[in-house]
């Protein structure tokens, strides 16, 4: 029996270069995305996330490289960018209009045939779980509901890729969970979801794959757990907070921690780093600090996560830049 081949990429970015004046923003970015997956773009501010989205929506022409959405170039063919539904970070809706009126307005603006608009709006509201609030004015709805309508508005024209810029900012825990479930449901219906977020817990919980975008290139991509495991290979994140004068009184403490692979955070008595080893390794590390005369105020040993992953790539990028 033959395996089913993976679906063709819905989004394919190859060697994308773009700049604003002298500032280079995309520096040979490669990325692929398939239907029915959630891809989370991680990266510090200025890494090129917004620029990539601009290029996908046809608002920015690449200096070199290609972007193909459904096989079409968005810079040349407007039909390509219409395969994307953009969900801005803020609530980009008309406050005085009802939920249904909003969706109908966006349907008209996206060029849907007039005869289909009302039915499509009702169906889309149903997909985001707000069919019963169709006649409520958007300004009177809760933050979570407005976020859902914000997403629904981007779905009115039937896009293949939903692009969300930090969709859960300002939401409480319950609303976040509800929105996360909605995105998973939308993925199951076949939508590809490209998400940018600074919330690593959210990224880890939602992402089928993450792409770490630093300095205009994708440094790593893959399922979050696999990516972390392959990069850190059993190392753990160790944090030791010492008494403020421990190292000054006994420089041997600092030497012992440095030798173990920890680095001191600037302007603090906290040491941290990725350490390979077993429980006994960590125990001997702590013991050596205590023997050297340090007073330990806090010890943390944990598995590396996406925050660790991102900060590692950002630190490497800064080192390269220097």
């Amino acid at each position: 029996m033959r395996d089913t081949p993976p679906p063709l990429p819905l989004l394919l970015v190859e060697g994308a270069h773009a700049s604003y004046g002298a500032r280079r923003v995309l520096c040979g970015l490669n990325l692929a995305m398939r239907p029915a997956e959630i891809l989370v773009l991680l990266g510090p501010n200025g890494a090129g996330k917004s620029t990539l989205i601009k290029a996908m929506s046809g608002r920015l022409k690449l200096a070199s490289g290609t972007i193909a959405i459904g096989g079409l170039d968005p810079a040349r063919d407007p039909a390509a960018s219409r395969l994307c539904g953009i969900v801005p970070q803020n609530i980009a809706l008309f406050e005085k209009l009802t939920a249904q009126e909003n969706l109908e307005a966006f349907g008209r603006l996206m060029g849907l045939p007039a005869r289909n608009i009302a039915a499509t709006a009702v169906a889309t509201l149903d997909r985001v779980g707000l069919a019963d609030r169709a006649r409520d004015r958007v300004g009177a709805l809760s933050g979570g509901m407005r976020r859902r309508i914000n997403i629904a508005a981007a779905m009115m024209h039937g896009p293949k890729i939903l692009v969300l810029d930090e969709p859960t900012v300002g939401l409480d825990y319950e609303a976040r969970a509800g929105l996360a479930q909605l995105l998973k449901d939308l993925r199951l219906s076949g939508l590809a979801i490209l998400l940018t977020t600074h919330d690593m817990d959210e990224a880890e919980a939602l992402a089928d794959r993450v792409a770490v975008l630093v300095g205009g290139v994708v440094k790593a991509e893959g399922p979050p757990r696999e990516l972390i495991a392959s990069l850190f290979r059993g190392r753990r994140q160790v944090t030791l907070a010492l008494s403020p004068d421990a190292v000054r009184r006994n420089p041997a403490v600092g030497d012992a921690l440095t030798a173990a692979g920890l680095a001191r955070r600037p302007d603090s008595a906290t040491w941290c780093g990725l350490v390979t080893g077993s429980e006994t390794t960590f125990e001997s590390l702590i013991r050596s600090a205590v023997v050297a005369g340090a007073v330990i105020e806090e010890v943390r040993v944990r598995q590396p996560d996406l925050t660790t992953l991102l900060s590692t790539f950002v630190a490497d990028d800064r080192k390269e830049a220097k």
């Binding site: 046809g58 953009i86 970070q89 809706l93 603006l109």
Partner: protein, 409 residues
């Protein structure tokens, strides 16, 4: 797609009672206030309060004051007898616009050629110079109407003393003539000899049927002021939408950002047209401005003015970085443009350099077109230039809005 933006703007306005009142009720109200204040100040219905002290209190002074207060623009502040100090106090406190004292001493009222101080004293406030001038004019008119014999007697005395002395027979005939004049004046005989008919008045514009021309002027002035303000307020919704990311969302739409700009522009034109219609309906109903007779040219002028305001507002807001900047800078610009353009003070009261500067504002061109219709009854050809300029201003603003908005996304 433009209709979708238009509908969104219309529904948003309809569901915002405060914005609705600001757009359509406030302009009419402000116009009524302006019309009442400035129609009076320009002379149409001015009522001058005069404090009178008749210290002479004889038949001659009575004839003068009866004639003076027959003028409906003058009101006597106090029916009781006042003295000089009381008149001065009334003027000082602002309870009277001007004071008139008929002196007991000095030259007789009916013999101005005699020696002595003038028989009348006008007590004025320098802050209300116009009241002094108006009373002086009214007094001259009343004097010649009430005492034509006294005026002629003064001239006859002057001729007798300085140029050619009359003989006794001539003096008797003059006295008889003066007596006949006095009688004719007392009986208001139209065939009698009167000196108050130096001139007649006629309006240069044949078709004007308005009681106070200033009302017509201010209808246009207030209309243009509110057109600019409401267009700015409406256009600022673009900045909300830009900040919320709505422009990013629409960037992938078939019409792009241009659809949003055009839809807002069209809505602002319609909103402006209705707003000006409300003002002119009030002007027609309450002040008799000839709107129905001039509906066609008025509609074209209003459409051109609304187009100019909408285009300018859209161009301006797309250039602004934030809503706060648009609000502060926009209001400041509108006030300056409206002041220079003649929406606040009639242009004919401005010094020539400011009047010349007014031609760079849409207000002046709109006022020019409205004046052509309602005050000068010009032929349509005279309105073509203002219409074209207003339309060009609006389209230039729309072009700027398109270019800047496209760059913004």
């Amino acid at each position: 797609m433009r209709a979708a933006v238009f509908r969104v703007m219309a529904l948003s306005l309809w569901r915002d009672p405060a914005a609705l009142a600001m757009s359509f009720a406030l302009p009419g109200l402000v116009f009524v206030i302006f019309a009442n204040i400035f129609a009076g100040a320009s002379g149409g219905d001015l009522n001058l309060r005069v404090a009178l002290a008749d210290l002479r209190a004889d038949g001659v002074s009575q004839r003068l004051t009866d004639n003076l207060f027959a003028d409906k623009r003058l009101t006597r502040t106090d029916a009781s007898a006042l003295d000089l100090v009381q008149v001065q106090e009334l003027v000082r406190r602002g309870e009277a616009d001007v004071g008139l004292i008929i002196r007991k001493g000095g030259r007789p009222l009916d013999d101005l050629g005699a020696d002595g101080a003038p028989p009348l004293l006008i007590m004025g406030d320098p802050g209300r110079e116009i009241a002094i001038t108006m009373l002086a004019g009214a007094l001259q008119k009343a004097y010649f109407a009430a005492l034509p014999d006294a005026a002629v007697r003064s001239i006859a005395d002057l001729v007798d003393r300085k140029f050619a002395p009359f003989n006794p027979e001539q003096k008797v005939r003059i006295e008889k003539g003066l007596e006949a004049m006095r009688t004719a004046s007392d009986s208001r005989d139209p065939q009698g000899f009167r000196l108050d008919q130096l001139f007649e008045r006629q309006n240069a514009v044949a078709n004007v049927s308005v009681a106070a021309p200033a009302v017509t002027y201010y209808a246009g002035g207030v209309a243009m002021l509110f057109l600019l303000f409401s267009a700015l307020t409406g256009a600022m919704s673009y900045l909300d939408e830009r900040e919320s990311g709505l422009l990013d969302r629409l960037a992938t739409s078939p019409g792009g950002i241009g659809v949003l700009i055009d839809g807002k522009f069209l809505f602002l034109i319609l909103q402006g047209f209705i707003q000006v219609l409300v003002i002119y309906l009030v002007a027609w109903g309450a002040f008799g401005v000839a709107l129905p007779q001039n509906a066609g040219p008025w509609a074209v002028t209003t459409l051109a003015a609304a187009l100019a305001a909408a285009g300018l507002a859209m161009g301006f807001v797309t250039l602004c970085r934030s809503k706060q900047q648009a609000q502060t800078l926009g209001q400041m610009l509108i006030l300056v443009v409206s002041a220079v353009g003649g929406s606040m003070v009639p242009r004919y009261l401005m010094p020539p350099p400011v009047q010349a500067l007014g031609w760079v504002t849409p207000n002046t061109w709109a006022l020019e077109a409205y004046a052509s219709i309602f005050s000068r009854a010009d032929a349509l050809a005279a309105m073509v230039l203002p219409w074209c300029i207003l339309a060009a201003i609006g389209l230039a603003g729309l072009f700027v809005a398109h270019v800047v908005a496209r760059r913004a996304v």
